[in-house]
């Protein structure tokens, strides 16, 4: 029992923190704990959760992808152009998702075969992709789509928005994929000890490429939701979204060095960040502070992660 508690200490801490934040916000604002506001929070965090789940896999594999936000933007722009060109909604969405998968896979290929540091590489790719989005659109948003497409962003089944259902599906599929299937096990080993994987006769390159392709697919789904919800494809969409995703993943207990992951932790962290954002908005706090808080939480999470590694090393000594 004690061992299990220790294993999930970060998630338990996050849950407790969320409960406390919720209690405090309920005291400060009578609007906070209403179904309408809870629904707002869920809708606001849904697409962030999808990207964070994709990022969880990538960070578990021992690297990061700073181009995820730019993939969101380019996929949105391409989908918008396809829709304006008269392509049916399913085909345009498929084109966007395939583009996301392809861009992610290229990132994986470059990281695996060039040996360039992933941080620099994905930062460079991010700049290039954002540049392409701006060049295509001339810096202006592409607007006005048909109701069929807009439904993907704001449509509901009962009381629940489709984006929330998409996010729930991502979480539900991710858990078995990460912890109960070979693919996830190898992705974790890629972060745990890539050499162990190679010396066991497993092609590390395949897992590097596919894990980035998965993040690309997640970014493309986010692009569908954002573009449909805003009824507009913005070349600046997804800006800094990867920072939020990385913050949530590390806060949730996934090791920044790879090898260990927590899908539940990521989901909890995305939720708590969403609650904080919502609470600050309700209290009319400037969005600048929200950015500051995200950065601060990332720093604290990395420190906690480092302390954990230090403790393990001390235990072995």
């Amino acid at each position: 029992m004690k061992k299990q508690l220790g294993k999930y200490s970060q998630q338990i801490f996050l849950f407790a923190a969320m409960v406390i934040v919720c209690i405090l916000l309920t005291i400060r604002s009578e609007y906070f704990f209403t179904w309408k506001n809870i629904r707002n929070i869920l809708e606001a965090v849904s697409y962030r959760l999808i990207l964070a789940i994709g990022m969880t896999f990538v960070i578990a594999s021992g690297v990061m992808d700073l181009s995820a936000g730019s993939i969101v933007s380019l996929c949105g722009v391409i989908m918008a152009l396809a829709l304006h060109g008269g392509m049916p909604v399913p085909a345009a969405v498929a084109a966007g998702v395939l583009l996301g998968i392809a861009l992610g896979a290229v990132n994986g290929l470059l990281i695996h075969y060039t040996g360039i540091n992933f941080f620099i590489l994905t930062l460079a790719v991010s700049g290039m992709l954002r540049g392409i989005s701006l060049m295509i659109t001339d810096g202006k948003p592409i607007t006005k789509f048909g109701q069929d497409f807009i439904y993907l962003g704001i449509g509901r089944i009962g009381e629940i928005q489709l984006s929330v259902l998409f996010a729930a599906c991502f979480v539900l599929v991710s858990v078995p994929l990460m912890f109960h299937m070979k693919w996830g096990g190898y992705v974790l080993s890629l972060g745990g000890n890539r050499e162990a994987l190679v010396k066991s006769g497993i092609r590390a390159g395949f897992y590097r490429v596919t894990v980035h392709a998965l993040l690309g697919a997640a970014a493309a789904v986010v692009a569908v939701i954002i573009t449909a919800r805003l009824n507009s494809a913005e070349p600046n969409a997804g800006m800094n979204m990867e920072l939020d995703a990385i913050t949530a993943v590390v806060m949730g207990g996934t090791s920044i060095k790879g090898g260990k992951a927590s899908i539940a932790g990521t989901a909890l962290a995305v939720l708590i960040l969403g609650v904080i954002r919502n609470g600050l908005t309700l209290m009319s706090v400037s969005s600048d502070y929200q950015q500051w808080i995200t950065g601060f939480l990332l720093l604290v999470s990395v420190l906690i992660s480092e302390i954990k590694v230090y403790k393990i090393k001390a235990l072995i000594k």
């Binding site: 109960h180 070979k182 096990g185 080993s189 745990g192 066991s200 006769g201 090791s255 090898g259 260990k260």
Partner: protein, 257 residues
């Protein structure tokens, strides 16, 4: 040099390997015979680990041939090597520190249920059985390997190699992190594997251990094959003298330059 009329189960012919300007192997020849324990000895940097990494397909040779069970491989892959029954315990152990014992024992050959899902329960049970059979004591097999002692980690890597069922087992400094009791258990395990007809290639700096367990000794120096002889025809003192002489020759050559 000792000669053998039997066909070697593993043979390396004129293998060369360089890492940039460093020539790790220079015209390396090596043979291991079925059912024998062949020890590879030599000073640090003599090319022992490079030799076994080529044999397991982790490194590609720049030139030369690798023969396993009568098949010639000019560019061997890890998978091909494993399919030929070659299994290795590397000096770095090649363990995934974040996984538990079962995760490491079955890495690359996982047991599945319904064809797609990992059968964690069965892998854990089989790991328990394996460790018990090999008299390896790890109090909590569910903890990640990073929390284990050096000796436990080394024992786990050996257990994994044994469990693969390969008939050519390579051990690179297998007892370097182990205490006396654990080392003695591993030596007994090697004797058992030898009795079971496995071919063992052992790299060790411990000459007494080499003489204790091996049938044949292959001396390598500075990336080259020096000599190979039956263990019973030599002694630790003679072997030590041979290695030191080779080291002195190298120092003289360097001084002459």
């Amino acid at each position: 040099m000792g000669t053998d009329t039997r066909e070697p189960i593993v043979e390396m012919r004129h293998v060369k390997k360089a890492f940039g300007y460093i020539q790790a192997l220079e015209d390396m020849n090596f043979s291991a015979y079925p059912g024998e324990v062949t020890a590879i000895v030599g000073d640090n940097g003599s090319g022992k680990s490079t030799l076994i990494k080529i044999l397991t397909g982790c490194l590609k040779p720049d030139a030369g041939e690798v023969w396993i069970k009568g098949k010639c491989f000019s560019s061997l892959t890890v998978k091909q090597s494993m399919n030929e029954g070659v299994t290795a315990v590397y000096q770095d152990l090649a363990l995934d520190n974040c996984k538990d014992c079962a995760g490491n024992i079955f890495l690359g050959r996982e047991l599945l249920k319904f064809g797609i899902f990992l059968d964690h329960g069965r892998m854990r049970r089989k790991t328990e059985e394996l460790l018990e059979n090999l008299h390896i004591s790890i109090p909590d097999i569910t903890q990640p390997v990073e929390r284990m002692s050096g000796g436990q980690r080394q024992a786990l890597a050996i257990a994994r190699a044994v469990d693969t069922g390969g008939d050519i087992l390579i051990f690179d400094e297998p007892t370097s992190a182990m205490g006396i009791k654990e080392t003695s258990r591993i030596m007994k395990l090697f004797a058992g594997l030898k009795e079971a007809g496995k071919t063992i290639i052992l790299i060790s700096h411990n000459l007494f251990q080499v003489f204790d367990i091996s049938d044949r000794i292959c001396v390598v120096h500075n990336g080259r094959f020096v000599d190979s002889f039956m263990t019973k025809d030599s002694s630790p003192q003679e072997l030590h003298k041979l290695i030191v002489e080779k080291e002195e020759e190298l120092s003289d050559e360097k001084a002459a330059w």
